[in-house]
């Protein structure tokens, strides 16, 4: 038996842990691009801000897309609810609220991550320190995940936690892909061609897939392959197909446990079947941007349905 409020806390705790990690990865990709390109890096930092979904808030605060402004906004700024610091803070507040549902190891790893990052992000980050800070953020979230997977019972608590992780991740991957394609693809006719553009690597890098891409495809970056990899490849842990495989799995486990199916089951089944049978060519023919917009909308709806069906409020 699980309180609705606890399920809600678990779901959001994991969404925010995932978000913190994604922010760090996004900044990491931006940093990498800024370092390898000789020309003005503000274009790359602009796309980082748009991918993070916080372009309006950023524009209200800053006029220039510099490394210092962007990293400060995405890592430290507590007025930005999706910054790493805000995310970790929210994750911990939720963890504290659902403390009894977590193993001691999981709680301690979150609490320690919060303590470490609070200390590390207390002052503006020196450019030279940035790689170490980004590593530390990824390490802390990896430790949380390790403690979580290693010690938590595979019950409803685990299911709601995983739903949070994968709904957040799917949203994140879809956004990055959408933004980058908008920015990068000069014309739809370029889709099948080989592009020699460091920017393509940044998409893969921001989901930690730049090396594994080469194991699965070839050394060159083809927009169609990249989209295939991030949308349809069921083995790639940040792809939409992968996320929905696990969302469906955990929703089905809940349905079996509780003996009841809800609206969220129908939604996830529908989305999953699109990802299972679809070919990347069909998706491009119908319009990638349209596909991704629909996906993001449905994914958000799924989150709301889960909250409603399982009495989060």
């Amino acid at each position: 038996m699980l309180l609705g409020r606890t399920a809600n806390g678990l779901y959001w705790m994991n969404r925010y842990i995932e978000r913190a990690e994604n922010m760090a990865r996004l900044v990491d990709a931006g940093l990498r691009m800024a370092l390898t390109r000789t020309q003005d890096a503000s274009e790359e930092w602009t796309s980082v801000i748009i991918s993070s979904g916080s372009d309006v808030a950023f524009a209200n605060k800053y006029s220039e897309y510099t490394a210092a402004n962007v990293t400060d906004f995405l890592l430290r700024d507590v007025s930005n609810p999706s910054s790493v610091m805000s995310s970790i803070e929210t994750a911990r507040t939720n963890a504290r609220m659902v403390r009894t549902a977590l193993t001691r190891e999981t709680w301690e790893s979150i609490n320690e991550a919060w303590m470490a990052l609070k200390r590390m992000l207390a002052k503006p980050i020196d450019e030279r320190e940035l790689p170490a800070v980004l590593d530390a953020i990824k390490r802390e979230t990896a430790l949380i995940r390790g403690a979580f997977y290693g010690t938590m019972l595979r019950n409803e608590i685990f299911d709601f936690s995983q739903l949070g992780t994968y709904v957040e991740r799917a949203d994140n991957t879809a956004r990055i892909l959408d933004v980058k394609y908008y920015v990068l693809l000069p014309s739809i006719s370029w889709v099948g061609s080989t592009l020699d553009n460091y920017q393509w690597e940044s998409i893969l890098r921001s989901v930690s897939a730049h090396r594994s891409y080469r194991w699965n495809y070839d050394a060159t970056y083809k927009p169609s392959n990249i989209a295939d990899y991030l949308i349809l490849n069921g083995r790639m842990p940040r792809s939409l197909a992968f996320c929905y495989r696990f969302i469906s799995e955990h929703l089905n486990l809940l349905a079996d446990d509780y003996g009841a199916r809800h609206a969220c089951h129908a939604t996830s089944t529908k989305t999953r079947s699109l990802l299972k049978v679809g070919s990347i060519k069909d998706i491009f023919d119908a319009g990638l941007h349209e596909f991704l917009s629909d996906f993001i909308r449905d994914n958000t709806r799924l989150g709301n349905e889960i909250a409603q069906d399982y009495r989060f409020y």
Binding site: M1, L2, L3, G4, R5, A7, T93, R96, M97, R99, T100, R104, W107, E108, N111, E112, M115, E156, F160, L254, Y258, A260, Y310, R311
Partner: protein, 478 residues
Amino acid sequence: MALQGSTRLAAFDEMLPETSGLRKPYTAYDRWLKEQDPARLTQKMEDAERVFRKTGITFAVYGEQEASERLIPFDIVPRIISGQEWRRLTQGIEQRVQALNAFLDDIYHRQEILRAGRVPKDLIARNEAFLPEMIGVRPPAGVYTHIIGIDIVRTSENEFYVLEDNARTPSGVSYMLENRETMMQLFPELFQQIKVRPVENYAQLLRQSLAAVRPERTTDAPTIAVLTPGSFNSAYFEHAFLADQMGVQLVEGQDLRVVDGHVAMRTTEGYKQIDVLYRRVDDAFLDPLTFNPDSALGVPGIMDVYRAGNITIANAPGTGIADDKAIYSYMPEIVEFYTGRKAILGNVPTWRCSEPDSLKYVLEHIHELVIKEVHGSGGYGMLGGPAATKKECADFSAKLASNPSNYIAQPTLALSTVPIMTEKGLAPRHVDLRPYVLVSDRIQLVPGGLTRVALKEGSLVVNSSQGGGTKDTWVLDD
């Protein structure tokens, strides 16, 4: 290692009293301590702090924005009580707890103690802690106060006094458990050398005890939950800790509602009935329909469910009338009235400022006395005469004179000391003791409790909200 510093009051030191040598309960510990490298002990003190931070054992201090989460300082020197001392304390505590429950039952029913003139009627009728809603209500299993933390102070080898009966919602038991856990992590070898009675089954006893007082109509396996005001409450850590250790749900008011004459919690599968609620929410916030209408912390209608006998609330509403500081002064009479025997544990002499003669005495001797608000707790709103300035005393006298019945006064007791570890070695500090008592169809105590220690040299205020710390409390298996 030599004892450093001195306290202003000639206090009894429980380890090394001035008049005699090392006390027996401390012999084995002292032997071990003398073999330790001071540098290692300093390291252990730092380790202890790290353990507490890591596990997130913090408490919130009201009114301090900066340090919204703080640690209660932990001292690595244990407070050691012999088996014989503990047996005597146990007898005294059991007697007192029995009397407290009998008093509550009487006060909400026949009021024989008032009729007998042993406690003034006014003191009950005009007391905010007395809940008219409880008149004639008999809680499941007849128990009113299920979980009690009795504060005990010591002034010499054989003198123990009860300072306060915390009969509504005593806190701190999680520190008792975590302090032991931490000590065992830091000094495993000590527990091999010295036989210390275990306290870790407290949560199990608490769960059994709560299950035993379930409503009559409930069958074998009652659903138990802990009700917390929420994660911003200063004792939230403890609420979560206890729910976790007992393996029961930790609920907030927003999770609960009355469904078909029962209190139920909102789960992912719908509403589920609760049979026993260990509430850590004050009476006033329990039921907005009956008490404070603005409360969002409670459950609308829970009092109706309670009166219908469909839920156990621990501790029962209205229990506060028994640990009110004005009632406290009558405890010797109360114990004798209900148990037929003299109280084994004495009270600290108390002046009730509501009585003109007492008020006069208190105002004349304010520099020597400790003055407390009748309904206050946690060391707030009190005056420690000997440590206060002339102006503080004068200001307090004015407050006192304008509303005398709001105050009681007690002599400044020379609380016993136990050494703490400082950078310069051991140094004596004043302590008190809060053992935890569970009441169901029987009375149970875990051997130990929470020792609070005033960390500032000479200070007598042990409250964590006022700079106090804690120690692990050992009851020897001898």
